[in-house]
Symmetry: D2
Subunit: 337 residues, 4 copies
C-alpha cells in the first residue's frame, strides 16, 4: 500500500502515519517528492484497511498495490485449472457447450430440449429449477420437481446438469441432483451462499454480477476457493451500462483480461449478454474468438410459450447452426468443439 | 402492453399475434399507423411475458405501459406509510436520524458511540453484527455477540436498533434482537432473503442495490409487501457510475422520484452515497432538502481504528454538527429533527 | 508517478526503467516490498506519459499521484474565484439565479419569459440561439436573430445574458451579444472551442459532459484558464447512468467535491439534471443545500408549445415558488438569494 | 408516438390531447385499457416534440415508435453501403485493415511505421496530425506538417490516409491531404463539425462517443448523410462503464446490432476499446467474428517513446501476428483479409 500525503503535510502528521505502520507490524518507507511525501507500507497489504490511514490528518489518499485476491490469481497458480464434470473437462483444449432452457417448465419440455441440444453438439444441459425473478408475480421455477426432471434428462442423454442454487439451505438438496451449481448474477455477492457452495464438493459456475467489476468477480471466487472448493468456473454474462438497445453489454474485454489474471476457466453467456436472440450467434462467435473456454446458451423449442427469457432463446435448429459456426471459430484459434 | 409490428408485417403475422392475445384472455386493439401497425393488449399486463410476442415473426418490439409493482405504488395507497419503530415514527413530520458504526467491534466501542449519537440527536442506532465484505479475509462481524451488545445499547440509551440480516435462516435470530431488519445493497435481489423478511413481523430497511434502478428497488419492496410485511422503508445509498472520485454517486433525483412513485418512507445514506467523510454533511443536507424522511449515518469515535468503513465515518462531534445543520434545512422544508 | 513492477521483475528490467527516468530528467526512488518493487518518479509528473513505462517489460502498472490540472486547483488558488458579470457577482455570498427558456423561439416568447423570471427573482437570463440537437430534423435555434432578441431582453430587464456558443468561428459573434458564453455538455471536450473561448474576454459557463468525470471537467476548465481566461464557472447538469426514470442523474456529490478541489464557482442545473419538471424544485433545493453557488433553470410560459425541452421547463409561477423555497434553504446554509 | 394517460385522466384532459394532435396535422387513435387510456398519434412522428404532450395535465408519458433516424436505417436502404477509398472498398467481402500510430510524431517515425504496417497487411494508414488531448499540457499534434508527412507516406506506400479533423474551419485543409476524415469520439455530437464534413466530398469515419448510445451514433451519422455526404463508416471504439481494469468497454453487441439497424459499414477499434495492448489481438479477433467490416489498430515501432497512447499500441511484429490470426477468423465467417 502507498500512502500519499497532502501537499504541505507537517512532519508530525507524517510521523503519526509511520508510527501507526510500525504498530501494525509493517515497515514504512518514505519518499519525498517535489510536491508531496509518499509513504510505502512494506509487507502483505491484504489485511490492511485503507481507511486506517485515509482518516488521518495530512493524508490525501491511499493506493493499493497488490490485487486483493490470492488463490484466484494466475500468480498463485500458473496453469489453467481444468474442472472435471463427469466425462467433460472444462478449461482444456475442447470448449464446453452448455445449453438448455432458462427454466424447467415441464417434463416433456425439458426432455425435448435436452435431446435436441445433445444432438446439436451440447456437452452439458442447463435449466433452472429455482428462478430469481424481479417480480414476485412471475413464474418462480418448479423447485424439487424440476430437479428430478433434470436428473431424468441426464440419465436419458448423458449430459451433465448445470442448475442454479439461490439459498444456502438449498445447497445440499440441489447438489443431490446437479453436476454443477450455478450462482446467479444477482447473488454474486451473497456471501452466505458463496460460503455454502465453497463447502460443497460440486463444481461451481459463478456468474459475474451485472454491476460487478472483474476484480469483484475474482474476490467472490476467492470466497469459494478459500472455503475449500477449487472447482470454480467464471461466467461473463454482460454488464449493465447506459446502452438500452441490448439488455446488457457483453464485456468482451473481460475474456482475455480474466484469462490473464486468473487460472480459472471462463465461460461466455451471449444469451444474457445480449438479451436478443438475433445477436446471440455473432456474440457467441466473438466470445470464442476472444478465448472463452466455453459457452452457455439458452435454447427453447417453443420460445413463444416459454415462461421466461423467450426473447433471448434460440430454437434448436438455430443452436445447431451456432455450434457449426462456433466450431469454425474454435479451429481458427486452435481449439475444438 | 403495446406490440409494435415491423414495417411491412404481413396480415398473417398480425393475425398470429392477435390470436395469441385472445388465447391468453386479453383483447387486442389494432391501430394502423402510416409506417407500422401497433397492437394494444387490453387487460392487466403484469402477468404477461413480453417475450411471448417478441419472438413472433413480424414483431419489432413490445412496450410495457403499467409499472410492474402494485402494492408499493402511490396509486395503490395515496397516503405515505408511517412505520412505527418503538416510539419513533418514520415517514411522518419528524425526520428519522439513524446513526452508529459500520460494524459492532466491541462492547465498549458500541456503547461509547451509542451514547454519543443519542446525545447528538440520533433517534435510532445502526451497527452491523453480520458484515457483507468483498474480501473473505476482512473482518466479517461479531455475529450473535454483536447482536447482544446492540441489545444492551438499546437498554442503556432507549435507541431502537437497525442491523443487517444476510441469510434467510438468520432472520429469526436477528429479529430477536433488532427493531429493524436491514437488507443490504448487495442483497437487494436476494429473493430468498426478501421472502424471509416478508414473513417476519419486524420493520425492514431495504437498501437500493448499487446498480439497481428505482423500478427494481420498488419490485424488491413488492416482494416483501406481497409476502405480508407492510412496514418497509426504502434507502437511497448511492449508485455505481463511471465517476471514481467518490465511492458511489448519491442519486438525489431518486428522493423526489420515490416520494412520487411510492407511499413507502425514503431514507438517505450519505455515508455510502459518497464514501468520503468530508462530503457526508453537505450531501446529508441535500437529501433532507430534496424530501428524504430520514438519514442513516456512519459514526465512529475512532475512525483510524475502525474495522470497516472508517473513511466515510464521522466522529461524534462532527455528527452533532451535522444534526444541527440538518435541523435548519428540515425547518426550511417544513419538517423537524 | 509511481511505477509498480511485476512480481519477479528482473534487475535488468528495473534498471531499464530507472535509466529511462534519468534520461527524462527525473529522479528514481526504489522501494522493495515483500512481493513487488515499486519505483517513485521524483519531479513534476504532469508532462510524463504513463505509457512510456507501462509498455516496458517487467512493469505492471503506473499510478499518478498529482491531479493533472493545476490552475483550476484549490492548491493553486485558495480563495474562491468570484466572477463579475455586469453588476452580479458569482461565487460570493449571494446565489446566482439564471433562468429562461431552453431556446429563443420568438421575440414575444423571450421578452415575456424574461420579464417573468426577472420579477420572480432571477439575476441572469438564459436562452439558446444556437441549439445542439441530437436530430438534424429538430429546431436548431434562431441564430443571430436570437442573439439580437436576447440583447433586447437585457436592455428591457437589466438581466445579463447566458447563451451557448457551438463553434470556434462563432465565438466573436456570440461575444458581441452575450455576457456569459456557455459551453454545452456535448462540447465539454471540444478542445478547439475551449481554446477559442479561452482567448475571449467573456466569462464562460462550462457544463460538465454527461459522461465526464469531475477530473475531466477540471481538465477542460484548465484548457480555458491556460489560454488566459480566468472567468470560468463550472456547471453540474447531471450525468448519464443506467437509471432510465430520469433523463440524467444529478451528481449531488460533485457539488461539495468541486468546492473542495477547485476555486471556481459551481452552478447546479436541476432542469437537465432530472429532465422532469416535477423533480426540478426539490433537486434545486438540494443543490443549494449542498453548497452550489447558483442555479440555472429552464422556464417557459407555455411548455406545451416549447420547441425544445418542454418536459423539464417550469412555468413562471412555479419558478417563483422555487425561488421562495430556495431562499429558505440558502439562509439555512448562510447564503442569500 | 403513443401517449399514455394517467389512471383516472378526465375526459377533458383526453380531449385536450386529441385536439392538439389534430392541430398539429396528425390523427388521434384512442384505446381504452382497463387501467389507462392510450392515444396513438398517426403520422410521421419524427418532427414531433414529445414534451408537447408530456407537460399536459393527465398525461403520464409518451413513447416513440419509430427510430428517429431515417437515411441511416436499413429500412431506407437494404443493401450494405460500400465506401470506395482509392482502390479499397469498405463494407464488401474484404475487411479493411487500418493501422498506424496514434500521432504523427516525425517524418521518420511515420514512414517507418507506414512501411511496416503495409508489409504486415494493412490496407489503410491511420495517424493523427491534430490530437484531442484531455490535458492542455500534452502534445497536441504536428498540424499541417503532420498532414504533409501523411501525404508523403501515401505516395511511398500507396496506403490511403485516415486522419482526424477537429474543427469545422479545418475540414477543407485536412481534406486536401486525407482520404478519409475521422470524427473523434469526443466530437461525435459536435454538430457544427458534423455538418461541415457532411458538406465535404471525402468519406468519413465516425467514431462512437464513449458516452453515446447506438441510436445517438446513428443520429450523428444522420447529420452527415442529410447534409449530402453518403460515404460514412461507423466505428465502435469502446464505451465508458464502471469497469476500471480496461480503459473502455468494447461493446461487442454493437457490431451485430449496427449491422442489423443500418446499411453503413462498421469498423472495430480494439486499441481504444481496451486501452491495453495485450488485449488488442483477442478483441480484434472477436470484432471480426461478430461481423465487423474492418479494424483500426494503433501500431508504433517504439511504444516506449510514443508521444501518446503507447500503452495500447502494438509493435509491427505483433500487428503482423494479429493480421495472420484475424485472417483465420475472417475465413471462418466467410470474409477475407
Amino acid at each position: 500500500m502507498i500512502i500519499v500525503m497532502k501537499a504541505g503535510a507537517s512532519p508530525a502528521e507524517i510521523k503519526h502515519v509511520t508510527r501507526r505502520i510500525d504498530e501494525l507490524g509493517y515497515a514504512a518507507h518514505l519518499s519525498e517528492g517535489t510536491e508531496r511525501t509518499i509513504i510505502g507500507v512494506i509487507g502483505d497489504e491484504r489485511p490492511l484497511e485503507s481507511a486506517t490511514f485515509e482518516v488521518m490528518d495530512g493524508v490525501e489518499k491511499t493506493i493499493s498495490i497488490l490485487p486483493p485476491y490470492k488463490l484466484a490469481s494466475r500468480e498463485w497458480r500458473r496453469e489453467t485449472t481444468v474442472v472435471d464434470v463427469g466425462t467433460t473437462k472444462i478449461g482444456g483444449q475442447e470448449l464446453a457447450m452448455m445449453a438448455g432452457p432458462c427454466s424447467v417448465e415441464s417434463r416433456s419440455q425439458l426432455l425435448e430440449i435436452a435431446h435436441a441440444v445433445k444432438e446439436a453438439g451440447a456437452t452439458m444441459l442447463r435449466g433452472g429449477a429455482y428462478k430469481p425473478r424481479s417480480s414476485p408475480y412471475s413464474f418462480q421455477g418448479m423447485g424439487v420437481e424440476g430437479l428430478e426432471i433434470l436428473a431424468e434428462a441426464r440419465e436419458q442423454t448423458g449430459l451433465a446438469i448445470v442448475t442454479e442454487v439461490m439459498a444456502p439451505d438449498k445447497v445440499d438438496l440441489v447438489s443431490e441432483y446437479a453436476d454443477v451449481l450455478q450462482i446467479g448474477a444477482r447473488n454474486m455477492q451473497n456471501y452466505a451462499l458463496l460460503l455454502a457452495v465453497g463447502k460443497s464438493s460440486r463444481p461451481v459456475l459463478l456468474k459475474r454480477g451485472m454491476m460487478s467489476t472483474i476484480e469483484e468477480l475474482l474476490m467472490s471466487a476467492e470466497y469459494i476457493l478459500s472455503a475449500g472448493n477449487y472447482n470454480v468456473m467464471l461466467c461473463e454474462r454482460g454488464i449493465r451500462t447506459f446502452e438500452t438497445y441490448t439488455r446488457n453489454t457483453t464485456d468482451i474485454n473481460a475474456i482475455p483480461a480474466l484469462k490473464h489474471l486468473t487460472h480459472l476457466p471462463v465461460i461466455g453467456d451471449p444469451s444474457h449478454g445480449t438479451g436478443r436472440w438475433p445477436l446471440v450467434a455473432p456474440v457467441a462467435r466473438a466470445l470464442v474468438a476472444a478465448g472463452a473456454d466455453g459457452l452457455i446458451i439458452e435454447v427453447h423449442h417453443d420460445p413463444e410459450h416459454a415462461l421466461s427469457d423467450g426473447a433471448q432463446s434460440l430454437k434448436p435448429e438455430r443452436f445447431a447452426q451456432l455450434v457449426r459456426e462456433t466450431r469454425l471459430i474454435a479451429e481458427a484459434v486452435g481449439r475444438t468443439v
